[in-house]
Symmetry: C2
Subunit: 762 residues, 2 copies
C-alpha cells in the first residue's frame, strides 16, 4: 500500500499535469485563430461572426495584446458569473441540470467531509489496530491509519461512531437528493410553462400503425384520429424511409469536401489544375481534371437527390407505419400521448414526440415484435459484453506480444529488437487493446441503444449512460476491489451465501483507498483539465481549416462544438458519487480528492457549457430521475458494504442497525419516485390547459397548421429545401462550390435566441 | 414414507368422506325447506319467489316425491349444461373467468400426466436407484419407485428424459397460458363492449382533492373539471363521511332483529306479552314490555338516521376530499382516468371508478401521505405475520396444555382427568390454536388490505389473494418441504449460496410426494365436497328462520348466498398449480390426484356459481393478470427446483440446459404482460368512442345527468331512500315491524336481468 509520500508524489504529478493543461488552455484560448474552437457556442448562436481582430495581419492569428496573458485565469470567475436563469436561456435546461449534478456532489460531500474529519478521523487515528501488523508481511501506511482498518477487531464502542456516521451520511444524502429532485422538478415545470411555442408541444409520435388492405397509411392515420380525437386532431406528418436519400446526401458531402480540397489546391498553385487518378485509391489509372470531375459528381448527385426526394414526396410506398400527429391544442396532445388508443396494445402506440432535432429517424419504422426481439438480443449482448469482454481482449493481447509481431511481420524484427522500441512495445502493447476497447465502449453502447430501437437521441443517451454506469460499477469498482474479471466475480458470488457477499467486498474496501485516490487524480483531475483543452477538436479544426475551408460557411462546418456528452460524462460522475459514499465512513481521506474533482469539474463544465458545447436537443432535464436513482443505488451499496465490513470486525451487534438503512433508503427512493418522477414523465392536463388558454387569448388567429408544416420532416428533406432555395436564388451558371451542405444547420434553429451578448471575448 | 397401501387407505377414507358429503348434499338440496340455502341465486335474481310446493303441508318442508331421490346425481350434468355465454349473462364474467382457472388446470395437467405416465414413469420404474437403500434405515415405498429418486446418481443418459419432460412441461404450460390470456382478454373486451350503460363507464374517482381556503371541496371539483375538461365534464358526486350514519343503521338493524324476535315469540304464545329486563345482559333490572321497548327504539333510531342524513345532505363539513366525477361520454372518462391532472402528482389523483356496489367507501378519504405510510406499515406487518406467526401460536400452545388449564381453572380438574377428555384435549389442543389462526388468516389479510387503503372490494380481494398465496407458498409449500418455520428457512437461505438454495429444496421434494398426496385429498377433495354441502349457511339459515323471520323479506335477509370468495379460493387453486408443476417432472404420481381435484372443483363451483353465489361486484375478469403471474411463478419455481434436484444427482451437465428455461419463461411472461395486460388495466379511446357513438345514435336525447343521480351515493343513503319511500307510502300508524332494512338490496340491482328461466328446480 502506498504511503502518504507516494500519494503526495502522485498528487503532485497529477496537479502539475492538470495545471499544465489549464495553462495551455489559458494561452490557446486567447489566440484569435483558435476562437472557433474555444468559443463555438457564440458562433452557433450567431452572436459572433468571425474572430475579433484588433491589430494587423499577425493579430488575426496570434494574440499580441500581452495584457490579456496576465489575466489568463480570468475564465474561471467568468464561467461562474452568468446567473442560472440566464444560463438556462443561453444553453438550455439540460446543461444547467447537468451542471447541478456536480453541485450536488459538492453539497453532499463537503459537509460529510467536515464531519468525518472532525469526528471520525480522530477515532480511527488514536487506535493501534494496524500495529499488530507491524511484525507481519502486510504493509500498511499512515493513510490506512486514518481509515477504519486501524480500529482493532471487537472494540465495539468505537464502531458506534461509524454507525452514527453511516446514519448521518444517509440522512444528509437523502435530504440533499430530495431537495435537488424537488428543485429540478420545479425548474422543469417552470421551463416547460415558460417555453415558447414549439411543434413538439402539440405533437404525438404514433408508431405501429396497423396495415390495412383498403387504405394507405396516410388515410388510416387521418381517419383514425379524426374519429377518435374529433375535437382535437389537426394534422399529421408521415415518416418516409429515407435511407437511400441519407446515403446520397452523405456521398455528396464527401464529394463536396474533395471538390473543396481540389479548388483550394488550385487556388494556392494557380498555375496548374489539380489532376487526380481514377484507379485504385487514386494511385493509378486514367488522369482527369480534379475540379471538373468532382463538380460533375456533385451535380449528378444533387440531381439524384432531388429525384429521390420527388419520389419520396409523391410515392406512398416509402411511408413507414409511423407518423407525427399534431393536435389543435397541447391538451389534445397530452391526452393522446397518455392514453391507450386501440384495444390491441401493440398497435397505435402513442408517446410524446421529442423535439424535431432530437428525433432519431432510423428507428421510427420498427414494428412491435422487432422491438421486443431487439431488446432481448441487446440484453444478452450487454450481459456478454460486461462479463466476458476480457476474453477477446486477452486473445488480442496474447497475439500482440513481441514474439507474435516478429512472427507475423519478420521484416520488422530488426526494428523491434532495438531496446528502446522493445521496452515501449512491452510496456504499452498489453494495455493498448484494453485502452482502445474502453475508448470505444461508449460508442458500442450507443450503437446498442440505437439497435434497441429508441426514437430520440436523448433516450439513446440515457440508455447508453445506464449501461456505461453498470459496466463501470462491475468492471471498475467491483473489479478493482474484488480483483478478477466480472465473470469470475459472478461465479464467486453465485457460490457464496447472500450474507457473505457484502463481507467479501467490504473487507477489501479499505485496502483499495490509495488505488482509488490515484484513479481520481488521473481520471478525474487530469481528465477534466484535458476536457477544457479540447486537443482533438483543436487539431481537427486546424486541419480542416487548412485543407477544406474557403468560405465562412465552410469554417462553420469545420467547427465541431461537441456536446455535453451525457452518455459518457454522467456515468463518470456517478462513479465518484459511489466512491465518495462508500469511502465516507471507511476512509474519509478519499473525500477531499473527490470534492476537488467536483469543484474543478463544475467550473470547467460551466465554462464549456457557456462557450463551447452545442445543444443537440433539449429534454428539459428529463434525465434527472436516472441520476437520482443511481446516487440512491450508490448509497445502498455503500450501506451494504459497510455492514459487511463491520460484521468482519466482530462488531456484528451493529448489523441490525445498519440493515435498517438500506430499507429506509429504498423507502425514500420509492417516495421520491411517486412524488417527483411524474413531472419528468407525464405532462399534466392542467398545465396544458393553462398554456393553451393563454395562447388562445394572446393569438386568437394563429395558424397552427402552417406552424407544423414540415416541422417533423426528415433532416435530409430540410437540407433539400435550403438547397433548393439557394439554387433558386443563385444563378444557374454559378460554380457549384458555393453550394453549402447545411446538414448540421438544423441543429441550432429551434434554440431560443439569447438576449445575452457575448462578454467572453478573449 | 407411505407405501401404496397407505396411500390407498387414505384415498379410500377421503373418497368416502367426499361421497358422503355429496350424498348429503344431493338429499338436502331437494328438500323444499332448504331451497333458499341451495338455490339463493335464483331468489336474488327474482326468478324464484318461494320454494316450490307440490303437495300438502309436509311437502312444504320435505320432498315426498321419491322419484327425485333416484336422480340425486342429476346436478352434475345440469351444472355443466349451461353454455358459457349464458353463464356470463347469468352470473357475470368474473365467475366464468374464475371457473376457467379450474379448466386451465385440467388443460395443462391432463396432457402432461398422459405424457409423464407413458414416457417418464417407465424410465423411473426400471431403475434400481432405491435398491441401494434396502440395507439402510431409510424406508421407501413403491410410490417412490415411480419418481426420479429411483434413478441412481450419475446415470446421465436417463436424466435427458426428465430434461425433455421439463421442456415439454414449460412449452405446454406457456402455450396454454398464452391461449387462455388471449381468450380472456378477448372475453373481457367483448363483455365491456356489449355491456349495457352503467354509471361506472362514465365516472372517474378523484382522490386527494387539495384544500383551498377560498372554496369548498364541491366548488373546487366543479371548477377544476369545468376548466380542465371543458367539453366533457358533466357532473360530480361528493363523498360524505358517513361513519356515524353507518353506526346508526347498524344499531337499528340489531334493534329490528330483537323486535322481530319478540314479536315472533308473542305470536307463538299469544297469551302473554314478552317481558325483557333492562339491566346487565338482560339478566336483571327493571322489566318492560319487549315489543313496545324495541318499537320505540327503532322509531327513535329511524328519526336519528333521517336527521343525520339531513345533516350530511345540507352541511359541507362532512364532505371528504374525494369525489366521483362523471363525464358526458365514455371517451371523456377514459381520458380523465388515464391522464395526469395536476402538476403535483399527489393531488387530483384520478382512476376509473369501480361499480357502485364494488366501492369500499371507508377508504375514499385517505390522504396521499397516509396511504404511503399505511402501505409501509402493512408491508412490515405482513412480513412479521408470514415469518413469525408461529411465535404467538407456540406461546398459546405452551399455555393451553393440560397442566396449564388445571392451574388456571382448578374446578375443571376432575373433568379433565377423565381419560376420554384428556386424550381429546391432548390430541386437539396443540393444533387448535394453529387451526383457528389459519381459519382467520384470510380475514386478517382482508383487514390488512382494507387498512392499506384500497377503494374497491375487488382490489381488496385481489391484494388479499396475493398475500394469502405468498403465505401458503412460504409456510405450506416451502414449510413442508424444508421443514422449519419460515424464519428458520429465511435464516438458512441467507447463509447459503444462491447455488445451494435450489439444491436444498430440490433434494427434499421427491420425499414429500406422499405428504402432498394426502394434503390434496384432505384439503382439495374433501374441501370441495364440503363447499357444495354449505353446512354453515344451512345451519345459520334454519336458526334465523326459526327466530327472526316473519315475512318473505326477512327470509330474503336471512339467506346468505355467499360469494365465490376470490381471496381464499384462488390461492388454493394456485397451490395445486404449484404442486402439479413441481411434481410433474419429479413424481408424476401426484398428477392424477390434482387432475381429479380440478375436475371435481370445476363441476362443484360451476354448480355453485349457477345456483348459489351472489355476485358482489363485476370486475370483468380483472384478476386474470394475477392468476397468470402466479402460474408463471410456479413454473419458474418448478424449473429452479428441478435444476437443484438434478445437480445433486450428479447430472450437472443438464444444469445449463435447465437454466435456459427460467430465462425463457420470464421472457414469455414479459411478452404476455406487454401484449395482454393493458386490456385489463386501461380502456382504449377507440372502444370508448365506438360505444359513445353507438349510444348517441340510438338515444340522442338521453338525460345522463338523471342517470348519474345518486349512483355513487353511500349505500346507507340509498337505504334511506328506500325507507323514506316506504314510510311515505305506508300509513304512519302502521306497526314498524314491517319496515324492512334493505341494506343488502343494493347488491343485486345492477345485475343484468337474466332472460334465462330457472330450469334447476329440484
Amino acid at each position: 500500500m502506498a504511503s502518504i509520500n507516494d500519494i503526495g508524489v502522485a498528487a503532485a504529478i497529477n496537479i502539475v499535469t492538470a495545471i499544465a493543461f489549464l495553462l495551455a488552455f489559458a494561452i490557446l484560448r486567447i489566440q484569435p485563430v483558435n476562437d472557433r474552437v474555444y468559443f463555438p457556442k457564440w458562433y452557433l448562436k450567431g452572436l459572433r461572426s468571425s474572430s475579433i481582430q484588433t491589430g494587423g495581419f499577425g493579430s488575426k492569428f496570434i494574440n499580441l495584446d500581452f495584457r490579456s496573458y496576465v489575466r489568463f485565469l480570468n475564465w474561471m470567475p467568468e464561467a461562474l458569473k452568468m446567473p442560472e436563469p440566464e444560463l438556462v436561456h443561453h444553453a438550455g435546461l439540460d446543461s444547467v441540470v447537468y451542471l447541478r449534478i456536480y453541485l450536488l456532489g459538492l453539497k453532499i460531500f463537503f459537509p460529510i467531509a467536515c464531519v468525518a474529519f472532525t469526528a471520525m478521523v480522530p477515532v480511527n487515528w488514536t487506535n493501534k489496530g494496524l500495529d499488530r501488523l507491524k511484525h507481519t508481511n502486510i504493509s500498511y501506511s499512515d493513510i490506512d491509519k486514518l481509515s477504519l482498518s486501524n480500529i482493532p477487531n471487537g472494540s465495539g464502542s468505537r464502531f458506534w461512531v461509524h454507525l452514527c456516521m453511516a446514519y448521518a451520511i444517509t440522512f444528509w444524502t437523502c435530504f440533499m437528493l430530495k431537495r435537488e429532485y424537488q428543485n429540478i422538478a420545479l425548474m422543469r415545470l417552470q421551463f416547460l410553462a415558460n417555453d415558447e411555442r414549439r411543434p413538439n408541444q402539440f405533437t404525438v409520435l404514433v408508431r405501429n400503425i396497423p396495415t390495412d388492405p383498403h387504405e394507405s397509411i396516410c388515410e388510416l392515420v387521418e381517419h383514425f384520429f379524426k374519429v377518435n380525437h374529433p375535437d382535437h386532431y389537426l394534422t399529421y406528418q408521415a415518416v418516409h424511409d429515407s435511407t437511400k436519400l441519407s446515403e446520397l446526401v452523405q456521398k455528396r458531402k464527401q464529394m463536396q469536401n474533395l471538390l473543396d480540397y481540389n479548388i483550394n489546391k488550385h487556388m494556392r498553385t494557380q498555375s496548374k489544375r489539380p489532376i487526380i487518378k481514377m484507379g485504385f485509391l487514386g494511385c493509378c489509372g486514367e488522369q482527369v481534371d480534379g475540379i471538373k470531375y468532382y463538380t460533375s459528381m456533385v451535380e449528378s448527385l444533387t440531381r439524384e437527390i432531388s429525384e429521390e426526394k420527388q419520389r419520396l414526396r409523391t410515392g406512398t410506398k416509402s411511408i413507414v407505419p409511423a407518423a407525427f400527429v399534431s393536435f389543435k391544442s397541447r391538451w389534445g396532445a397530452a391526452v393522446c400521448a397518455q392514453t391507450e388508443q386501440s384495444r390491441d396494445p401493440t398497435e397505435w402506440l402513442t408517446e410524446w414526440a421529442a423535439e424535431p432535432r432530437d428525433i432519431y429517424y432510423d428507428n421510427l419504422a420498427l414494428p412491435y415484435v422487432d422491438l421486443k426481439i431487439r431488446r432481448i438480443i441487446v440484453a444478452i449482448a450487454y450481459f456478454f459484453l460486461t462479463f466476458f469482454f476480457m476474453i477477446p481482449i486477452a486473445f488480442v493481447q496474447s497475439l500482440a506480444n513481441i514474439e507474435g509481431i516478429e512472427k507475423a511481420f519478420p521484416f520488422l524484427k530488426p526494428l523491434i529488437e532495438v531496446k528502446f522500441f522493445k521496452s515501449i512495445i512491452q510496456g504499452f502493447l498489453p494495455g493498448i487493446a484494453l485502452k482502445i476497447f474502453l475508448m470505444f465502449l461508449p460508442r458500442i453502447l450507443m450503437q446498442m441503444s440505437k439497435f434497441e430501437g429508441f426514437v430520440s437521441t436523448s433516450s439513446l443517451e440515457r440508455r447508453a449512460a445506464s449501461r456505461f454506469y453498470m459496466f463501470q460499477f462491475i468492471n471498475v469498482f467491483l473489479g478493482s476491489i474484488v480483483t478478477g474479471t466480472a465473470f469470475q466475480q459472478l461465479n464467486r458470488f453465485l457460490n457464496q451465501s447472500a450474507n457473505d457477499i457484502p463481507k467479501t467486498i467490504g473487507v477489501s474496501i479499505p485496502m483499495k483507498a490509495t488505488f482509488f485516490i490515484t484513479y481520481i487524480m488521473v481520471d478525474g483531475w487530469a481528465g477534466v483539465a484535458g476536457e477544457i483543452l479540447r486537443l482533438k477538436p483543436l487539431i481537427i479544426y486546424h486541419l480542416k481549416n487548412s485543407f477544406l475551408v474557403r468560405t465562412e460557411n465552410d469554417r462553420e462546418e469545420a467547427t465541431d462544438a461537441g456536446t455535453i456528452g451525457f452518455n459518457t460524462g454522467e456515468p463518470q460522475i456517478q462513479l465518484y458519487f459511489l466512491l465518495g459514499l462508500v469511502y465516507a465512513a471507511v476512509s474519509p481521506i478519499l473525500l477531499p480528492f473527490i470534492i476537488l474533482f467536483f469543484a474543478l469539474a463544475y467550473v470547467v463544465y460551466r465554462h464549456q457549457v457557456i462557450n463551447v458545447y452545442n445543444q443537440n436537443y433539449e429534454s428539459a432535464g428529463k434525465f434527472w430521475p436516472d441520476v437520482h436513482r443511481r446516487v440512491v443505488t450508490a448509497l445502498i451499496v455503500s450501506q451494504l458494504l459497510l455492514t459487511g465490513l463491520l460484521s468482519t470486525k466482530q462488531a456484528s451487534k451493529s448489523t441490525p442497525f445498519l440493515l435498517v438503512l438500506p430499507v429506509l433508503t429504498i423507502g425514500f427512493h420509492m417516495h421520491c419516485k411517486c412524488r417527483y418522477q411524474p413531472a419528468f414523465v407525464r405532462y399534466s392536463l392542467q398545465e396544458a390547459m393553462i398554456k393553451d388558454t393563454l395562447e388562445r387569448t394572446r393569438e386568437p388567429n394563429l395558424n397552427l397548421k402552417a406552424f407544423f408544416r414540415n416541422a417533423y420532416a426528415h433532416p435530409e428533406f430540410r437540407v433539400g429545401e435550403d438547397l433548393e432555395l439557394e439554387m433558386a436564388v443563385e444563378k444557374p451558371d454559378k460554380t457549384p462550390e458555393l453550394v453549402a451542405t447545411k446538414r448540421g444547420s438544423w441543429r441550432n434553429t429551434p434554440l431560443p435566441s439569447s438576449k445575452h451578448s457575448c462578454p467572453y471575448s478573449p
